[in-house]
């Protein structure tokens, strides 16, 4: 319990130390673009593939329930709302944390072991400014963009399944998705994704920088980073649901 609290405190502290560089903006643009290219593009194929599967699953399950309640005409609407608002961002976030968050924790852990982080401090550069802040911004941006792409691919997967399983014409499916103001749902999902990206980046940077000397600690750091970001993801999602019910 004590360990958990100290980690939560450390993560929060790291967030504030990094957020200091947001106003006025002091961004290491080369590191920022390197991370966007290196982490974001690399994670694209697997995220999109899982998004297709997610959309297919959503239509299979929610579609069946909606059909049971006697409203086949709402299959597209129900799965559209579910994918855009809830399942898309969460599952893409989980995959992103497994792929990019854990890779980031391992990379920072290795930099810590090879004393590159200390070298930065020795040069008078704050490692939080040079390493953490660009990652934070990059992952927030990346996850928002990935969520838009992922939603699109999930709905494509959904339209294929609703065509094959419920004999629903893809054209009708897309009409059902697009006609009732999906922009609000999409924007809510993207806003969530920005917070998920913040959570994943700060958590993975924190556990990566926790590594001291021993290379074996890198494996532990990856494990803790994935577990903690998944927990944080659900807490954020819960807060969003609360805010929605209150509004």
């Amino acid at each position: 319990m004590r360990g958990l609290l100290s980690h939560v405190g450390g993560i929060t502290w790291l967030f504030f130390r990094a957020a200091r560089y947001a106003v006025p903006l002091r961004l290491e643009s080369r590191e920022f673009s390197r991370i966007l290219l290196h982490f974001g593009v690399k994670s694209l194929p697997l995220v999109l593939l899982t998004a297709v599967i997610t959309g297919a699953l959503m239509v299979l399950q929610t579609g069946a329930v909606v059909e049971l309640m006697g409203a086949t005409s709402m299959v597209g609407w129900a799965s559209g709302v579910a994918v855009l608002r809830e399942v898309g961002p969460v599952l893409i976030g989980v995959m992103f944390s497994g792929q990019v968050g854990s890779f980031n924790a391992a990379e920072l852990g290795l930099m810590k072991i090879t004393e590159q982080v200390e070298a930065l401090s020795g040069l008078g550069v704050d490692p939080v400014r040079f390493l953490v802040f660009p990652r934070m911004l990059a992952m927030m941006l990346m996850l928002a963009v990935l969520t838009v792409y992922g939603d699109l691919f999930a709905l494509i997967g959904g339209s294929i399944v609703s065509w094959g399983m419920f004999d629903l014409d893809p054209w009708v499916f897309w009409q059902q998705v697009l006609l009732p103001h999906p922009v609000d749902d999409l924007l809510e999902g993207v806003l969530k994704a920005v917070f998920f990206g913040l959570n994943i980046s700060v958590v993975s940077c924190y556990f990566g920088l926790q590594v001291e000397r021993d290379p074996w600690e890198v494996g532990v750091a990856v494990n803790r980073s994935v577990v903690t970001s998944a927990m944080g993801l659900f807490v954020i999602d819960y807060l969003f649901a609360l805010a929605r019910a209150g509004a």
């Binding site: 329930v65 497994g98 854990s102 074996w216 494996g219 998944a230 999602d237 019910a245």
Partner: protein, 254 residues
């Protein structure tokens, strides 16, 4: 397209490792302490994590669907029935699989990778112990025992949490909420089938990613952990979709 090739070769490796592990399965009894250690790390170690995530998931889903339904038709009497069915057939198995991949997959991969790097695997072979029998088989048996139990615990937690939200926030009485009308026997069957396939896939995929390290030194341990999470969660998705499609194909009707 390189990643597609690597996915196919992973699938082949899984089958090969599965065959080898099944052959050395009777050796598990020779190392009961290994089995107990794995049970505690895969099962007991993941319990609180799954408990928390399943509770959050139940709460979130009820919140979201209830507000959506309230907008269209303010009748929440069938919410529980739909919720329990979706939780049983899809959400809880998928959540359990992904969370176990996150927690256990990375741990197994980095453990195996560090054993490969420090040549402990060779030491085992020198001591005339089969690494598959000593390392992989206990993990497989432990996860076959632990993952279904974890799934059942998550299911109970998620449904209870959803029920409480329905009761407190949306004033749906539990006797209305706990409605199993839409949940059929084959949903529970596919629940079990999904969990069992995850229980086989997650340890095997993570062990394979651990062995892939080669001898590039200690620094590859972190990469192995990363690959363990990604590949096991990917195979969880694939297995989940396969069982869901099979279920729909076999029984057709909703």
């Amino acid at each position: 397209m390189r990643w597609l090739g690597s996915l196919v070769s992973s699938a082949v490796d899984i089958l090969a490792l599965l065959a080898e592990t099944l052959r050395s399965l009777k050796g598990v009894g020779r190392h009961p302490e290994r089995l107990l250690a794995e049970l505690s790390s895969i099962g007991t170690g993941s319990l609180i994590f799954l408990f928390a995530t399943a509770a959050f998931m139940g709460v979130i889903i009820v919140f979201q669907t209830a507000t959506q339904i309230n907008k269209a038709i303010p009748d929440l009497s069938m919410l529980g029935a739909g919720f329990i069915r979706v939780m049983t057939a899809e959400m809880i198995p998928l959540l359990t699989g992904l969370m176990v991949s996150a927690r256990v997959g990375s741990a197994i991969s980095s453990e195996v990778a560090s054993m490969v790097v420090t040549e402990q695997m060779d030491a085992l072979r020198l001591a005339n112990t089969d690494p598959t029998e000593y390392i992989v088989a206990p993990k497989l048996v432990a996860s076959l025992v632990a993952v279904p139990i974890l799934g059942l615990v998550s299911l109970a937690t998620g449904i209870t949490a959803g029920m409480l939200v329905g009761w407190i926030v949306f004033e749906i009485h539990p006797s209305t909420f706990l409605n199993f009308r839409y949940t059929y026997g084959y949903h529970f069957l596919s629940f079990c089938l999904k969990l069992l396939s995850f229980a086989v896939l997650i340890p095997l995929v993570s062990v394979i990613e651990g062995f892939r390290t080669g001898r590039q030194g200690a620094f590859s341990v972190g990469q192995a952990a990363t690959r363990g999470v990604i590949m096991s969660s990917f195979f969880v998705f694939v297995a989940d979709l396969s069982v869901s499609l099979l279920e729909r194909g076999l029984w057709g009707a909703p």
